[in-house]
Symmetry: C2
Subunit: 158 residues, 2 copies
């Protein structure tokens, strides 16, 4: 966990990154979501990450409620909770970006609907006019009563 590195930021993006913003974190979540990894050695073999780093990440995920540690046959299993599984759109959005901008040999992985095999797509749309929204079509509006981006605002919101 990054702790409260971004404490001055009254922002859900900052809150999310405090939980999954460290190196390797989202790749561990990716493997839990899409490779079925649950065992320490599953993650380690797939990622090649140092044991102490992997251990710190998994324990941090348990503390943050993203994973549950369950005793299994001769080992602990780290299983995503609903809170952890809800990171799927984050992982898919990163994959979409990487497929478009950083995959010179084409996307290495396709996301598919488990039910029918169709391609899984993410889109941003307007809940009122239903228009597809691209970059430039979306604005961020601070909600009334919420704090500002500064530390004072954050305190006021607490």
């Amino acid at each position: 966990m990054l702790g409260r590195t971004y404490e001055a930021q009254d922002c859900s993006v900052a809150r999310a990154l405090e939980v999954v913003g460290e190196r390797w974190s989202l790749l561990i979540i990716r493997d839990a979501l899409f490779a079925g990894s649950t065992r320490f050695r599953d993650f380690q073999q797939a990622l090649g990450v140092a044991s102490n780093v992997l251990s710190a990440r998994l324990e941090g995920f348990v503390r943050a409620g993203l994973m549950e540690r369950r005793p299994a046959e001769g080992h602990d299993a780290y299983v995503l909770t609903a809170k952890g599984r809800d990171l799927q759109p984050v992982v898919m959005a990163l994959a979409d970006w990487g497929d478009k901008w950083a995959a010179p040999y084409g996307p290495p992985v396709a996301f598919e609907h488990a039910g029918c095999g169709g391609g899984a797509r993410q889109e941003t749309y307007c809940a009122v006019c239903a228009e597809d929204l691209g970059p430039g079509d979306v604005v961020a509006v601070r909600r009334a009563g919420s704090g500002t981006a500064g530390p004072a605002g954050r305190r006021a919101a607490e």
Copy 2:
């Protein structure tokens, strides 16, 4: 930039995180996308990040093609390119997760369609059967001809 920290990973998520996976990176992109920040001091005042870190991130973004540095009146402006703007779904997905799981006082910011003011939503759906897809409904399938997750596979794909 993380360089090739995740080189052994033949994965678009890893490629994306090599570009925006460092501390502060996605908050800088957030401010460029949604706060209209372009100047060094805009980012610094909003984020409270150390100058050397901010400088390294902005220069890294220019090198990676996420931003262009343009001379402006008395300062340089850092302006997102199409490649940088395409990170909007990543930022929105992180915000959605943070709103749901880490915003005890409610979402501090709302995303709206600039055109009509309606709420901007992200969803994952099946391109074939059109079903809304939640966690558990999506599987990742390695494409034929792509490498494996290991270094050898990565080399084979290059």
